[in-house]
Symmetry: D2
Subunit: 93 residues, 4 copies
């Protein structure tokens, strides 16, 4: 069971909406819409994706990392290293 | 005619691929894949979107802003203000 | 003459303030302040630096790139390529 | 005792270097250096600050959050909420 397990429907819904946003971007380009308007929508889509990432990370810390820590030992250290690496990738993306 | 006009097919292809990536994210969550693996894919998708934005911006400067500048006057100033605002939104997203 | 020439005092003042913020971060660590409080100040300092970057870029487009464009030719293309590269570095930093 | 306690000297050194980088930025502007060169240095400074933030966050998870979790209860939940908020600020800065 993963961190986001009890919110699967919410994440599914948000990702479907983001998929729709990306499809909307393709349509804007197909319709020759103005570059800056396309860029504004790209920024909004990126923000929505980042929000999904921050949500997943929060659940991961709350559930998976927390569980590993209560068991302690090397497993907990590995989980934190993994979470820190994921955070670094997020900050840089 | 917009900045990206002569690359429409390329952008269409990239956005279709990103749409597929987002659909893949939904599938990962549906399949209960591990949070960190989902996060890695979210970061990759965000990076792909940012690359599209940087490409569109480059074309916009090269074509639209450039054209407005060659005409000069207030129109050029307005185009640069608009581009700077779009860059700020990108940096913050 | 560079884009920021007529705002040099303003940038000097902002950078002095940011230097003070970084010195404040060192003091917080020396005083063993709470990690999360240090992180909040790091985020504020990063934001201030990004604002300086966005300001410099806006002036650069408004003055240097604009000037190169009015002269036209290869010089203008090179300036835009350079600006796009700087924007990409900003977005990724 | 905070997460970064056993690395205080390292962080002090990194922040002193960053302070020097910011002072260098002010000097570049005072010397009328080229906008794009200043921007390149701003990006490098921002990256150095982000690296400090990621380091502090990693230590915070490894020590402070870990400790709170081993004690369990509401205190652990509050620590994770706090860490998630700090991560969100980082991603957006």
């Amino acid at each position: 069971m993963h961190g986001y397990a009890h919110n699967k429907d919410d994440y599914a819904k948000r990702l479907r909406r983001i998929e729709g946003q990306v499809r909307g971007l393709a349509r804007m380009i197909d319709d020759d819409e103005y570059c800056i308007d396309v860029l504004t929508q790209v920024s909004a889509t990126t923000k929505a994706l980042q929000a999904v990432a921050l949500g997943l990370l929060d659940e991961h810390l709350k559930h998976c990392v927390s569980e590993a820590m209560s068991e302690g030992g090397e497993q907990a250290d590995a989980k934190i290293r993994e979470a820190s690496d994921a955070i670094a990738r997020l900050v840089k993306s």
